[in-house]
């Protein structure tokens, strides 16, 4: 059994690594993750230390230069990886969980409950989410927890739509029907049979949502609504904005890290999509 499983997973791994976007995405992701975990070790300086030389261009001592307070930009960017990943994963996670619950319940129950929940989804889709997030942060403060919760609460609709569609198509399949006949409870069926089988499109969408959350946090920080207690790439871009014509490196490199990270998750999402739906690869 375990030997067979090992062979199978080895085969799957080989196939996954054959998909270029997935391979590149995973390599980049591992690098970004390592940077986040090992930040204090690999960062050349303390990201908050004022080192004296203000707005120094990139040099051997400071590969990416220093900012307007004389802090080492490379160290700040490496430490910024942490907040970006935390926000991205948590916000996408919240949005995924809400999406699964709403979508699965709506699709499985059908009837009036389904119509009501679909209605709620359509209404959420029509509200300008970013401005809602902005108002909430302006009123309640931009702590990292608030950002995560609000972004998660405003981006779940696509997940719910996907989960609902999957549930509707799984609902009448033989293995679900036989579980019903065997007397399993509704919630148990949903949790054990429907959700695990219908979750793949959500995995793809959630990966893309990680990028979305990272970009949203960057935008909030750029407007000045970020968490002042963390080091965030969006905030570094904002700090660099005032010195854009003289100290271009501040905004350039911090922005590039946002692009690279967001791109990584888009690549993984695209790759996973191809991995999980092999038909797609042949047809389109």
């Amino acid at each position: 059994m375990s030997a067979e499983f090992a062979v199978k997973s080895k085969k799957a791994f080989k196939r996954a690594m054959g998909i270029t976007p997935l391979r590149i995405g995973m390599i980049l992701f591992i690098m970004i993750l390592l940077a986040a975990i090992l930040a204090p070790i690999i960062a050349p300086y303390d990201p908050k230390a004022l080192l004296g030389g203000i707005l120094e261009p990139p040099s051997q001592a400071h590969p990416l230069g220093t900012d307007n307070f004389g802090r080492d930009l490379l160290s700040r960017i490496i430490h910024g990886t942490r907040s970006s990943l935390i926000i991205g994963f948590l916000a996408a996670g919240i949005s995924g969980v809400i999406g699964i619950v709403v979508g699965a319940v709506s699709g499985y129950l059908g009837g009036a409950a389904d119509r009501a929940l679909t209605f709620v989804i359509s209404i959420f889709d029509m509200t300008p989410a970013f401005f809602l997030v902005l108002i909430v942060i302006a009123l309640f403060g931009g702590s990292i927890i608030n950002v995560v919760i609000v972004v998660g609460l405003t981006t779940w609709t696509a997940n719910a739509r996907l989960m609902r569609a999957e549930t509707v198509s799984l609902r009448d399949r033989v293995f679900v029907r036989s579980a019903e006949v065997a007397g399993e409870g509704k919630w148990r069926i949903l949790l054990r049979h429907v959700v695990p089988n219908g979750i793949y499109p959500l995995v793809v969408n959630t990966t893309a949502n990680i990028s979305g959350a990272i970009l949203m946090e960057a935008s909030l920080s750029f407007i000045g609504l970020g968490d002042a207690n963390i080091i965030s790439w969006g905030q570094i871009v904002l700090e660099g904005r005032s010195y854009i014509s003289t100290a271009w490196w501040i905004s350039l490199f911090s922005g590039l890290s946002i692009v690279l990270t967001a791109w990584t998750f888009f690549l993984i999402g695209d790759g996973l999509n191809r991995f999980l739906t092999p038909k797609l690869q042949q047809k389109t």
Partner: protein, 321 residues
């Protein structure tokens, strides 16, 4: 068709009510008392407190308060900015022109360019052209729009000095007439190209995917086998079917596009609503923030109804039902 549109209209009305409710609830849930939030000042004077209490019925039960709030919104009263001593609607209407100029130009350009490139990519699937633009679409998606704006400003305005850095007009030159229009156009190039680059990937991708799907239909194969020229099949049968999802996409991406426009306005100091938004955040002028949110919600839902009508008219399956 009338029934379909009526249903959509009903949905949109509920969506507006939902936005109004959220707005109403947030002020009451937020730390601090509603009066000082709405006044935008730490210690409002007694007269102001009295006026606000009366206007929003703050001494009455919460249901009555919501009713009064709703009444104000439907009367077109989105609040009063005590910071600027002007009604919120006046503040917004002063800024709405530049925003519309910027956003509609970019929207039109991104639809045209995105669809054109998407169609070409679908016809030349798996060629260098297709691969290049499909990958570029991902990179553009991953780009924070404000950062792209800053970088283009750095390159074209600060370094190459080809284009103006910020604003909508050159105040010092004081152009009039045709020269003024030229001046505005020159100031528009950078912000418009930024927003266009950011909206384009969505249209590119949906056009490419739906054209590919339409090209895979059996009737297309049949027409080709019967000897109809490729171009005619494409124009008369593929294009018509492929363009419908694009209309849906416009509606779905409106809310998202407006966020991009707001950020680009902030970067280029474009005198539109994005700028107003930033000022209101910095001044903690909540009345304006909530006014912008409400007006945007209403405009987006109105645009959605309009697009639904266009869609229903374009799609015979709905038009004839």
């Amino acid at each position: 068709m009338a029934r379909y549109l009526l249903k959509r209209f009903f949905l949109c009305m509920i969506a507006v009510m939902f936005s109004v409710f959220i707005n109403f609830a947030l002020v009451r849930l937020a730390p601090g008392d509603p009066i000082s939030i709405m006044a935008g000042i730490e210690k409002p004077n007694p007269l102001m407190i009295e006026a606000l209490t009366k206007k929003y019925g703050l001494d009455k039960p919460i249901i009555v308060q919501f009713g009064m709030y709703l009444q104000n919104v439907f009367r077109g009263d989105y609040g009063f900015s005590y910071r600027s001593n002007l009604p919120v609607t006046t503040l917004i209407s002063e800024r709405v022109g530049p925003t519309l100029l910027l956003s509609l130009t970019s929207l039109g350009l991104s639809i045209l360019l995105g669809c054109w490139l998407g169609l070409r990519a679908a016809r030349k699937k798996d060629t260098l052209f297709d691969r290049f633009f499909s990958n570029l679409a991902y990179v553009l998606d991953a780009m924070p729009n404000f950062w792209l704006g800053l970088m283009m400003m750095l390159l074209f305005a600060s370094t190459l000095k080809l284009l103006p850095t910020a604003g909508m007009i050159d105040v010092r030159a004081g152009y009039t007439g045709f020269q003024n229009i030229l001046d505005i156009l020159k100031h528009m190039i950078l912000p418009v190209s930024c927003t266009t680059f950011l909206m384009m990937p969505g249209y590119y991708r949906i056009m490419r995917a739906s054209a590919l799907q339409a090209m895979n239909e059996d009737y297309v194969t049949l027409f080709r086998a019967a000897g109809m020229p490729r171009k005619q099949v494409f124009r008369s049968y593929v294009l018509k079917n492929a363009v419908l999802p694009v209309v849906t996409m416009i509606g779905m991406s409106l809310a998202y596009s407006i966020m991009g426009v707001a950020l680009i306005e902030i970067v280029f100091a474009w005198p539109g609503m994005g700028r107003l938004l930033l000022d209101s955040i910095n001044k903690r002028d909540y009345a304006v923030l909530s006014g912008i949110y409400l007006i945007l919600s209403i405009s987006i839902t109105a645009a959605t109804v309009l697009l639904d009508a266009v869609y229903a008219w374009m799609d015979p399956r709905i038009r004839l039902s």
